[in-house]
Amino acid sequence: MLAFEIITPFTVLLCFLGVFIGIIMGAIPGMTATMAIAIFLPLTYVLEMVDSIGLLIGLYVGGISGGLVPAILLNIPGTPSSLCTTFDGYPMTQKGEGEKALKVGITASIIGGFFSLTVLYLFAPFLASVAIDFTSVDKFLIIVFALTIIASISKGSLIGGLFSGVLGIFISLIGRFPDNNEMRLMPPGLEEQLVYGFSLLPVLIGLFAVGQILQEAEEGMKPASHQKLDLKKTEKNKFSLKIFKGQYINTARSSLIGTFVGMLPGVGGSAASITAYSQTKNFSKHPERLGTGEPEGLISSESANNGLIGGALIPLLTLGIPGDSTTAILIGAFLLQGVQVGPLFISSNPDLWSGIVITLVVANIAMFILMFFSIKYFAKIVFIPKYIIFPIIVLMCVVGSYAINSGIMFDVWTLLIFGVLGYIFPKIGVQIPAFLIGFILGMEAEKYFVDSLKGSGGDLTVFFTQGPIAIVLWILILGSLVYAFIDSQKSKKNQAST
C-alpha cells in the first residue's frame, strides 16, 4: 500500500501539531514527552488509529527534542534525557555559541532519530529477540556501565564524584521497597509523601534551575559574559555542517547506543545519553575538552536521546513491552483502539506498522523544520535580563513540578528542597551531575540487582557466570573505569605542571 493511502494530510497535520506542542512541553523545565502524551491520550479515542499515532509520535519526538533548548541556553535539562546536553551545550552558550549549539543539537537529534527509525524498520523483529536475551544480570551490568561515567566526569576529584554518585543512589532508594511493601530510609512523618520516593523531575530541575538561580542571586544577578556579546559580529556562532566532520563515528556510535539502550525494556532513556556521553569521552582524542563546550559531547548526547525513540518502540511493537516510561503510556493508545501490540503485531497490522514508520519520518522532519528555522528566536532567550527570566523560570518550574504527578504539592516542596541543596552542594564539594546520575540510575540498578539475586536464589556469582553478554559488559565496565582513572591521573599531572 502506498504511503499516502496509509497516512492522510490530516495525519501529517496532527503529527506537526504534536511535534510543535511536544517541543514546547519539552522545553519547559519539568514538563516531558511522557506528560505530553499522557495529556493527549484520552483525546485520541475519537481519532482514527493512524491519526492518533501521528499525534502521539509527534508529541514523543517533539518532547524529547525540545529538552535541548533550556539545557543549552539556561543549563537546565528540560527532560532527564537531556542532562548530558548541559555538559557541553551550556559552556558553548557561555562562549557566545548558543545558536550554533542549538543547531548542532537539532542536527544530531534528527540524525539519531533517523538512525533509530531505520533500525526499527529493518531489524525490529530480530532485535526484539536479542532484547529478550538480555537478562536482569545483563541489565544490571548495563546500568553499572552507565554509572562509570561518574568516574569520567569527576576528573580531579574522583572521591568527591564517587561520593556524590553514591549519595544520589542512596536518596533514590527512599520510599517503599516494592518486593515486600516495606518502607525504607524514610524520614519520620513523611511516609505518605515519600511512599514512591522523590520524583525525578522536581529533583532534576530543583538542583539545576532553582539551585543555579539562588547562586546567581547571591552574586547579584550580574549579566553573564555571553549576554554582552554581539552575536552578529561573532563568526564562531555560525553553524556549519563541517562541525560534523570527524564526528561520523561519534554520531553513529551514540545513535547506536541510544537505539540499543532504548530497546532494552525497563532501562530508562536517561541511561542512553549517559552511556553514549561516557563512551564519547572514552574514545575522544581530546577527552579533557569535553565538558568545556565541545560540539562532540553535544552531538553524542542529542543523537543518543533521539536514537532511543526508535529503540524504545522495538520492544513495544514486537513484544508488547514498553521500552521506557513514554512508550508505557503509548501502549494505552493502542489498547484504547482495541489493537494488541505484541509478537504478532507487525504481521497482523502491516498498514498500521507502515503508518507508524512513516509518521516517525514525518515527525523527525517536522521537528527539524520547526526547530532549526525558529532557533534564532529561541536563542534570544539568553539575552533576556536575569531579573526577568529567572522569576519566569521559577514559575515554570513550580507549575511543572505540581503538574508532573497530576497535582501533588509535595513535588513542589521537593523542587524547593533540592533547589536549596543545589545551592549548597557545590559549596561543600558534592558534584551535582554525579549526584543526579546516581539518583536517576539508582532505582534501576537496585531493581535488576535484586531481580538477579532472586533468580539465582541469592547466589552472587551469577553476575560473573551468566553468559557471554555479561562477560562483554564486565570488560566494558573495567575498561571504562581504567580509562577514567588514567585520564584522572593525566589531568592531575597537567594541573600540577601548569
Partner: protein
C-alpha cells in the same frame, strides 16, 4: 545588601508559590467554585477519577476510561481519569471533599491490599461509600512457557510429585489479585498433596505484567500470573518459541468464551471444600460522607450505561465484560467476597517464606 535582597526575594517567591497550593496534598485543587459549604450538592462540572493503577495500559485504566467517557455524557459532566497508583489514589480520597469532585475507581486489590497489609487499615472498605460495580476482567489466569511439561495448574503439582528434585516458581505481585489466586492454588496443593510438594513451590515477587513476562523469559519464574487480555498474543501460532506461552488455567466460574482454557474449578482446585473461583471486578469508591443523591445519580447513569451495546463492545475489544451492580448490591457483594477471601488469607503462607 543587594545580593542578600535578591537571594531572599527569589527564595521567597518560590516558597510563596509553593504555599499557594496549601499544605494538603492532592485533590483539593480540583474543587470547582460555587460548591463550597454545600455538602449536599453534586459538583456537576468536573469529576476527577483517580485509579489504583499508575499504568495507562492495564485493565483498570482501560475499563475506567471506557466507563467515564460514557458516564460523563449521561451525567452531563466532565470526568477525567488520573492513573495515580493505589497509594496516591487512597491518599487523595482521604483528603477529598464530600462533593464527589474526586472519586476512585479500582478492583479487588482495594480490599485485598488492606487484608494483606499492603495498604493502611484506614483504607478499608468501611471507610468509603462503595459505588456501582462496572466490569469484570474474566481472563485472570496463570501461564507458563509453551514447552513446559504441564498444561494445567493441577498438572504442575502432579509434575512436582513425579519429579521430587524439581521446584516450581510462580511470579506474582504482593498484596494483589495475583497473590489471592496463588494462595488458592497453594492451599489446595497443600491439602491434597501435603507440604512435601508445597515446600518446592517458590514465589518470585515482582510488579508489572511486563516484569512477570520477563521473569518467565529470563527463566527466573516457571509460572506467571497474567490475563487473557494481556497475554493471549503470546500464546498464538506464529509466535517465536523463546517467548511463546500457554495458559494453565483461569479462575472464573465458567470458561471464557472463545478460549480453550480450563477453569480452576474444572481442575479440581478447591479451598475449604469449595471450588476456588475468583473474578476480578472493577468498581467505584466514593468519599464516606458523600450525599446520597450523588450515589443515586451515579447508579442511575451506570444502569443506563450497562444497557448500552457500544459500551459493552468497547469493553469486549480487550476481553472485559460489563458487570453492573448498583451501589448497595455492590457493597453487599464485596463485603461477602472479602469475608470469603479473609479465610484464605488467614491460612495462606507468608510470601517471605516462599520467596526465592
Amino acid at each position: 545588601m543587594k545580593k542578600m535582597m535578591a537571594l531572599v526575594s527569589v527564595g521567597s517567591m518560590g516558597f510563596m508559590l509553593a504555599a499557594c497550593g496549601t499544605g494538603d496534598s492532592g485533590g483539593q485543587g480540583e474543587q470547582t467554585s460555587g460548591q463550597e459549604g454545600s455538602s449536599t450538592t453534586i459538583d456537576p462540572n468536573r469529576v476527577r477519577t483517580v485509579i489504583g493503577s499508575s499504568s495507562t495500559g492495564g485493565d483498570t485504566y482501560q475499563t475506567a476510561d471506557a466507563a467515564t467517557r460514557n458516564l460523563e455524557e449521561v451525567l452531563d459532566t466532565n470526568m477525567q481519569v488520573d492513573a495515580v497508583g493505589a497509594d496516591r489514589a487512597f491518599s487523595e480520597m482521604s483528603g477529598a471533599q464530600d462533593d464527589g469532585s474526586t472519586i476512585m475507581y479500582f478492583h479487588d486489590m482495594a480490599y485485598l491490599g488492606v487484608e494483606y497489609g499492603s495498604f493502611s487499615e484506614d483504607y478499608e472498605l468501611e471507610n468509603w461509600t462503595i459505588g456501582p460495580m462496572v466490569a469484570t476482567n474474566p481472563g485472570n489466569a496463570f501461564l507458563t512457557s509453551a514447552d513446559a511439561p504441564y498444561d494445567t495448574m493441577a498438572e504442575s503439582i502432579e509434575w512436582l510429585e513425579d519429579n521430587p528434585d524439581e521446584t516450581v516458581s510462580v511470579a506474582l505481585e504482593e498484596g494483589g489479585v495475583s497473590e489471592i489466586v496463588f494462595d488458592g492454588y497453594y492451599l489446595w496443593a497443600e491439602e491434597e498433596y501435603g507440604s512435601e510438594i508445597t515446600d518446592r513451590i517458590e514465589v518470585y515477587v515482582t510488579g508489572s505484567q511486563e516484569d512477570k513476562n520477563q521473569a518467565l523469559w529470563d527463566g527466573n519464574a516457571d509460572i506467571i500470573h497474567g490475563s487473557i487480555g494481556a497475554n493471549n498474543e503470546y500464546t498464538e501460532d506464529g509466535v517465536e518459541d523463546d517467548i511463546k506461552m500457554k495458559f494453565l488455567g483461569v479462575t472464573t466460574e465458567e470458561r471464557v468464551d472463545g478460549f480453550d482454557i480450563p477453569t480452576f474449578a474444572e481442575q479440581g482446585i478447591t479451598v475449604d471444600g469449595e471450588e476456588f473461583v475468583f473474578e476480578k471486578e472493577f468498581f467505584f469508591l466514593l468519599p464516606k460522607d458523600i450525599d446520597e443523591s450523588y450515589t443515586t445519580a451515579l447508579d442511575n447513569a451506570m444502569a443506563e450505561l450497562a444497557e448500552d451495546e457500544e459500551f459493552a463492545e468497547a469493553l469486549n475489544k480487550n476481553t472485559y465484560t460489563v458487570n453492573h451492580m448498583p451501589s448497595d448490591e455492590a457493597e453487599e457483594h464485596l463485603m461477602e467476597k472479602r469475608e470469603n477471601m479473609q479465610s484464605i488469607i488467614e491460612q495462606a503462607p507468608d510470601l517471605n517464606d516462599l520467596a526465592k
